[in-house]
Symmetry: D2
Subunit: 353 residues, 4 copies
């Protein structure tokens, strides 16, 4: 694990924005806005165009600046110029972050493969899966013990019994354990068994949970919410980083769009985009991202080609009998085939799985 980060002082976030005045804005309105900008501790530059006036506001700001200016008199729009996140940014840390925990290494050239069932269901199921994915080349084991389910009537997971089975699987295989934590109350319990705390897509903006996993001394896999923008994802990471925890892996798992032939739409351009903006490693989840087993192998290979630092894949020894997500799980031979594809693509691009 990387060293603990110092707490970032939000008061010094640097920012610029452009206040666009309406076409008929009066000199008084412009003067008023200049004073507002300066009262926020920013420098103002007034630019008189042929048709309208814009005020550039530059300096160190609190995050409310945009909101504070947008409702001023005669203001048409406020356009922010810089990204609102800081610690996650490439501008602050140029070299890529590598997260290493037990058998799992993700980022900075290392490609980690996290595989396992949606839910831990029984000792036999999880051990059989763990050995099989280990043999096929996985470097970590996933498995849900606490399950967030859309319906209150669905199977909610084996809870602590599931965590114990995951720990047993680690003992037998040496695989690092990745499992979801759904609530601040459970962080301590889950952290006792897991190597990586997963924050699920539904909880990406559960800020209390982000703070809690930020305080835990365990790496975090942060899944993108299905309607989260890149800025929102990076600001969610910032909540964790800002508690001193540097070991954050971002996970693209698909967004909600009008497409109905897949469970979600998997927008792989996130991978090179995020590599451009942040030093944090990027993992892709083609199982949730497509929702259909037959689409997973090709999209796993495509994720690697797009530059992913890791994959998280649902694998089940008998998907037809799975208690959740069977329709998007690979069986063991399919996982072996997927690994072969991914390994070939990674090698072709000079990386190793």
């Amino acid at each position: 694990m990387n060293a603990i980060l110092p707490k970032y002082s939000g008061l010094r976030e640097l920012f610029s924005m452009i206040v666009v005045m309406e076409r008929g804005a009066t000199p008084d309105q412009i003067q008023h806005m200049v004073q507002r900008v300066e009262s926020l501790g920013l420098k103002s530059h007034v630019i008189h165009g042929t048709e309208r006036t814009v005020i550039a506001a530059i300096g160190e700001k609190r995050s409310e600046t945009k909101e504070a200016l947008a409702s001023g008199p005669g203001v048409e729009d406020v356009v922010p110029i810089l990204a609102p996140y800081k610690v996650a940014s490439r501008e602050v840390k140029k070299e890529p972050t590598q997260v290493v925990v037990g058998s799992l290494k993700v980022g900075a050239g290392a490609v980690g493969i996290i595989a396992g069932p949606c839910s831990v269901e029984s000792e036999e199921q999880i051990l059989k899966t763990a050995h099989a994915v280990k043999n096929a080349g996985a470097t970590a084991l996933r498995g849900g013990a606490f399950k967030p389910r859309t319906s209150p009537y669905s199977f909610q997971g084996m809870k602590e019994d599931g965590l114990k089975l995951l720990a047993l699987a680690r003992e037998q295989t040496g695989l690092a354990i990745v499992t979801e934590v759904m609530s601040t109350e459970d962080v301590e319990l889950v952290a006792r068994y897991a190597d990586v705390l997963q924050v699920g897509a539904r909880n990406m903006q559960n800020y209390r949970l982000l703070e809690a996993v930020g305080q835990a001394r365990k790496p975090v896999l942060l899944k993108r919410g299905p309607s989260a923008t890149m800025d929102e994802l990076l600001l969610a990471a910032e909540y964790i980083l800002n508690e001193g925890n540097p070991d954050v892996m971002l996970c693209e798992r698909g967004i909600r769009t009008f497409e109905a032939h897949t469970r979600f739409t998997l927008p792989l351009a996130s991978v090179p985009y995020l590599h451009h903006k942040t030093h944090l490693p990027i993992v892709v989840d083609p199982s949730h991202g497509t929702g259909h087993t037959y689409l997973v192998p090709d999209m796993a290979a495509a994720s690697i080609a797009a530059g992913a630092d890791g994959l998280i894949l649902e694998v089940h020894p008998d998907p037809e009998q799975a208690m959740s997500d069977g329709y998007q799980s690979l069986n063991l031979p399919q996982f072996v085939e997927t690994m072969a594809k991914c390994r070939a693509v990674a090698a072709a691009l000079g990386r190793t799985i």
Copy 2:
């Protein structure tokens, strides 16, 4: 408040689904799927079409049925026929639910108006707003004490001090208090001061929080997540209802789409749709739903015309100085004007605000 609901038995959820076999599915595969359907305790009806075979599976099921069938051999698709929610459904309770708490009455013909600032900022601010919105016809006061913020560097709310100010405002004006609870740990504290517990859009699928507010004996305002489907919203309500709490108000506050000229897209057809599907009352939030003050009055009136049982509106005595969301807040004269519009539309349609 309505009477406590008995816990619903998930084991008896009734459902039907259609298993569509692939075109070349073999008799063995069809036979296998028939057995699978029956092993799940469902009745099967095989229909041989000119080109392919479908199996209708009907009966009482566990929610995993679809998933259990979708990965079978030769299966092309599984199409569910009935909605997955139950207690929230019109089929279970025909007459509309009315939520009544203090000054606030929502549903079954009553239109409630919840107004106030995004954040509680000071005693002066909240009292001034409370008196003003009361005089203009609001029937409840909103105000955030715990604020979920996209950035960790933004103002996070006054917390318990804010709750105390809200209670003071209730004392002076008689207005019921609506305020957000962000975490299970805070439910007891917030419930001590508030009349209605608001679950924010980012927490719509924070199932632990839903269970916790379900156990609290307070009405809940449940906001739709920006990428939630109607089924997901109703299943989130079902988590609360299923804990015995019958006083759930659904809130449409806009969804995330490609539109960038508004903060969110406010899809008002949710209102008549939900009235068709559920007995729960529907509140609309045109402030978050549009994100621009100048769009709020027309969209408030449109919400009433669409059949909304209530509105929740951001109102601030001086939006330019607001610590959050000033750009979408009405000032006091704008709120008075909005109320006039809404009252006229409600009257025209035979309802009263």
Copy 3:
């Protein structure tokens, strides 16, 4: 009809944009971009911030400016400040445009009601509908003669025979005729019979067709494409206006989002937004916007409350027998009831249908 517009000179489009340099941009890169800005005939203002430099580019520009600057060395982003449309803009023409043709008056306080079947199917069907909607208060008759259909195997319309029946219906009822034109080849033919040429959502960016209807001397109803932004809609209108045709009505008919419980998502905030940006009148289509008959009456009333200058509604004497779109058509009693609702809301807000 309004007077013919003079052709707008694209060369004098006024614009500003902000070129945001990367954090480590060199003085040479900045100097290079200043020269690029000036070589495009714009004035440049360089602003050196604490962390990065931005260049404001202001003046009269060709539309390629943004593209020309965005690929420069050291450039992180180019942020346009002004809207790209011109003739459609409120800045150019403050007073609202009213389109008047025969019995139909839309905009500037007048609310037009365009009603009729999806497709013209027979003399009996169209005459019966025309008389009924006229009696209930419609001010124009819609009906498709050329039908754009998703599948080549669907009914494609009665073509010229349909146009003749529409003309007959106008003769009998005095209602203005609104009908779709799908192709430049048909503009002359359709214009011979119709009072308003409708450009369908699928053709909103069929620029040849826009130019052709711009040259026809008939008012145009321009439907928003299901993934069109407001700027794209207004630029499509600009294609028509720029050919000299001032009589353009914009039509909001729903956008494509992840919502599946409605056929499209009807974002009524478009109505006040467009009223703010353009002088052109706004018509709403709640039939396509929802796709379900039972949602149409409430959403029609909501459209009026949001400020719509007109409605276009699918009405069929026997929706169950309709050759297209029966599931979203009002029958005659439902249309009467919808009109009553809309009339009440309009009256409450000081407008008349």
Copy 4:
């Protein structure tokens, strides 16, 4: 080119659908719907569930069947079971279609690379690009002569002069020419010069144009509209196929979603999905699909890994001076590097570029 297809008889489209009756549907309503189903020439199977009745309707149908049934009395929903396209379907033709024209071969194992500028701008520009992309391994040249532009004030292309320059480039390099046709009037002209007729995303549902290119004896590259579903894309292809033209290449070029950090969202799962559903080859456009040069190489490689049969890439010798789309164009060294990546990935997966 493949052999001309016989015209498909729409009257024999095979289909099944499930009519779901409302919970309280009466025996009369059920009986009525059974008669409706049979009057449409379908066989009906009534299934009485514990809570509601569904009617399976199976047989050969006209496409209006769903619409005809959905507005019946007591009907809650109609669920179609089979896809609405036919000739494009894998069920009709199992082996993949390969399109071969001059130097370009796409599909059935062959990967075609179509590269060139957004717009043809000058003889020097197009010849320089053509030679360079040829040398780097491209198998066809793209270049717009007729340009669909969002704004009427943007550069609209060199028209026939551009086509002549493309023909000259073919003469010098032997590369097949791919260029867009925007209007039925231009089909003959463009077909005189081009090897492949491109139908742009904005025209994907311009049915007259689809019919016209279906009648032209040239292969067609059909781009997906930014809000088109897979069914809509395949039905658009069906318009072309149904005119007898078998040489259709589908092109995924990104969809419109809430994501704003890319121009469009490029959903690569379309590639394996379409390979599963249709025999037609799939080309990907990472230039429009991302809108940023720096994202193109990784997404090009990812497209190949996902199984694409071809790429279409914007390449310009001097993107900063391009008259359109410079910000998403590769320069010549970037194209060489992209080709190397793609070739390596293709080889790793047993295909050749």
